[in-house]
C-alpha cells in the first residue's frame, strides 16, 4: 500500500515538473517564466521527496528526505524572489501585453529610464 502511494506521488511530482518546464519554454517573458517554473518545479521536487518519505518511513533515508523538504521550499522561493527583483532593477522589459507593474509604480526598479534607476540604486544602498 505504501509503495502504491509512493508511486502515485512520484507520478504527481513528474507531472508538475513537466508543467514547470513547459512554462519555462513557452511563456513570453522572464517574469511569467519564473513564476510558472519555480512554483511548479518546487512542488514537483517536494512531491518526489514526500514519495521517498512515504516509501521508507522513519528510517535514515526517510528522515533525511523529510529534512530536505523545508530547505528546498524556502531556498528556491527566496532565490526566485531575489532573482526577479534583480532582473527588474537590471531593466529587463515586461511583456508588451502586461497590464500592471506595481513595483515600478512605487518608484523602485529601473525599467523606465536611466536617471530614475541611478536614484533608486542610491536609495537602496
Amino acid at each position: 500500500m505504501n509503495k502504491l502511494i509512493a508511486d502515485i506521488l512520484l507520478g504527481i511530482g513528474m507531472l508538475f515538473s513537466l508543467l514547470g518546464c513547459l512554462g519555462l519554454i513557452r511563456l513570453p517573458d522572464i517574469y511569467n517564466r519564473l513564476q510558472a517554473a519555480t512554483k511548479c518545479v518546487t512542488l514537483g521536487a517536494c512531491c518526489i521527496l514526500l514519495s521517498l518519505v512515504i516509501r521508507y518511513g522513519f528510517t535514515e533515508s526517510g528522515i533525511k528526505g523529510l529534512l530536505a523538504i523545508p530547505i528546498l521550499f524556502f531556498a528556491s522561493t527566496v532565490g526566485a524572489h531575489a532573482l526577479i527583483r534583480g532582473s527588474h532593477i537590471f531593466g529587463i522589459k515586461l511583456w508588451e501585453k502586461s497590464i500592471i507593474d506595481e513595483y515600478a509604480d512605487d518608484g523602485y526598479g529601473g525599467s523606465s529610464d536611466q536617471e530614475n534607476q541611478k536614484d533608486t540604486n542610491d536609495e537602496i544602498s
Binding site: 519555462l24 521536487a45 518526489i48 528546498l72 528556491s76 532573482l83 532582473s87 537590471f90 540604486n121
Partner: protein
C-alpha cells in the same frame, strides 16, 4: 521497464528541455532562471536515484545541491541588481 526507471529517464529529458532555454534565452536573466530550475530538477534526479539504488548518501548530495544553487542564485541576483557583492 519499471516505473522508477521511467521516472529517471523522464527527469533527464526535462533537463534537456530546460537546456533549450539556457541556449536560446535572449537575456542573461533567462539563462540564470533556467539554470536555477535545472538545479531543482537535478535534486529530484538525486532523490529518484536514491530510491532506485537504496543508498542514503545521495540525499545528502541533493541537500548540498539545493544550498549551493541558492547561493549561486543570490549572487547572480546581486550582480543583476548592480550592487556590490559585499554589501
Amino acid at each position: 521497464m519499471e516505473w522508477i526507471d521511467f521516472a529517471l529517464y523522464f527527469m533527464i529529458a526535462l533537463v534537456a528541455l530546460c537546456l533549450y532555454r539556457v541556449i536560446k534565452g535572449p537575456s542573461v536573466a533567462d539563462r540564470v532562471v533556467a539554470i536555477d530550475i535545472i538545479g531543482i530538477i537535478v535534486v529530484g534526479i538525486c532523490i529518484i536515484l536514491s530510491i532506485k539504488t537504496e543508498k542514503a548518501f545521495l540525499i545528502d548530495i541533493g541537500i548540498a545541491w539545493i544550498i549551493l544553487s541558492f547561493i549561486g542564485t543570490l549572487t547572480m541576483a546581486k550582480y543583476l541588481g548592480r550592487r556590490k557583492l559585499d554589501e
